[in-house]
Subunit: 280 residues, 2 copies
């Protein structure tokens, strides 16, 4: 997905939020805003949002602190989601269509995104909504059928906490699953450490993508990841960042997400608040 | 009020919105965003938001079109509010405390602000809410008492459409009123033409402030306005832009507004959604 003009103010907002989370002084925050404006000023017209966000967050680490600014928020998200795991499993077990319910819950978990808003509101409300809401784009039947016939699945994670919802879905998947995480911290995206705290290593092989972009920019990923991606017969790509990266990546990729910003809504053709299972 | 770091992304958003309303091409919109970033980059740390907004909107007029980009939206706002005028008068007439009700309605009208959001939602809902809602800052008693003893009032208007709500309040004020409007179009702020379309000339003497800032920056106002301001024993200043300009202007100034952004909320000490009658 291209970068829309609406993304410009949003990057400034995200830069300020990250600078504050990193404990930056007022001067450092201003400096991050100014440097972000420089990045935006020389933006390659073909740049996609995760490329820019990657620069912005690397700037915050350089200007303020190399310590992960989202670490505390991420730990809290994982704890919050782990407390719900028994309920998620029960919802799936008691469902008349367990796989549909598991996919919906994985999409519900996608609300745990600290890139769009400062907090993600009431998780239980989101779960209730997403369990009942019609899909705006619904390729779940094709996905469920491929999950029975493919010999393995590459699952591209997104936010920390959402990982636990992914875990509940993966527990229902009978083929082997590789769960890809970010190579370094960026936003509240899950790294290997975050995924282990959510117990993903118990249900999938973990694989770092070797990159610090909040999405999956193949050209920046490690050779090992690129090979795994190329070989995968089926890919689940979670969240907005992965949609921005892989919306045209071909039919083995299924994007599962909640539309949380109007720009993605315009690109995907469904309003903010929609739930999506879209074959690329 | 100083410019907070949160205002930076908001100015970019406002620049893009104004560029689109002015009918700018994608290239022109991008150019306006880039020029706005240049303005923000060299921002005087002491600059207040209406000064910056003034530059941004003058940029849009220069880069795209000198025609008022908010003209259609303003005409529509005035028509919408005029349709409510009989109801507003009835609400005031039937109230057990007509002056309190008239002040509340003038504050309700302050929702008609196209600087914060692209549209201002349901007017009737806002009226119902503001009629019942407790004031977050309440100097109405002092204001009502001064409205009986001062020899005249200078009333600083804000948005077009809100003008009609101001008219309903002014109809209840027994001392002579001068209603100040912007010298040139900026955002959806009322100019003389907009005020006349709302019938303000029927209840007050109209006075241009001679400036194109979305607020009241005295140093940029005409000599005639400055003199009127200096002589006025009592001033009502409507809306966020006037609060940003005059929050420390002295005790003859009463700011009437709805808090529509969290930054003003932080500055004034009341959350977004609050209604305010504050003596400076």
């Amino acid at each position: 997905m291209k970068t829309y003009l609406e993304c410009y103010p949003c990057f400034l907002k995200q830069a300020l939020s990250a600078a504050r989370r990193a404990g930056g002084s007022e001067e450092q925050q201003l400096s991050v805003i100014r440097e972000t404006m420089k990045i935006l000023d020389v933006l390659d017209p073909g740049a996609i949002p995760p490329e820019i966000a990657r620069h912005v967050h690397s700037l915050v680490r350089k200007e303020i602190s190399s310590v992960d600014p989202y670490r505390d928020a991420k730990k809290q998200s994982t704890e919050q989601a782990l407390a719900l795991l028994p309920d998620l499993r029960e919802l799936i077990d008691n469902s008349s269509d367990p796989m549909d319910t598991a996919i919906r819950l994985a999409i519900a978990g996608n609300i745990m995104d600290l890139g769009v808003m400062e907090d993600f509101g009431d998780l239980q409300e989101t779960i209730n909504r997403v369990l009942k809401q019609p899909f705006a784009i619904d390729h779940t039947k094709e996905l469920i059928s491929l999950l029975e016939t493919a010999d393995h699945l590459l699952y591209l994670g997104d936010n920390t906490g959402e990982t636990v919802f992914d875990r509940a879905l993966i527990e229902r998947i009978s083929i082997p699953v590789t769960y890809a995480v970010k190579g370094s911290p960026v936003l509240n995206d899950a790294t290997e450490q975050d995924a282990i705290e959510a117990g993903l290593h118990l249900v999938a092989a973990l694989l770092s993508n070797g990159s610090d972009a909040p999405g999956t920019l193949l050209e920046l990923c490690s050779g090992e990841f690129k090979e795994a991606y190329a070989k995968a017969p089926l890919v689940i790509a979670k969240g907005q960042g992965n949609y921005e990266s892989l919306s045209n990546a071909g039919e083995k990729v299924f994007c599962l997400l909640q539309v949380k910003c109007p720009v993605i809504g315009e690109d995907i053709g469904a309003p903010a608040g929609s739930i999506i299972c879209r074959r690329s």
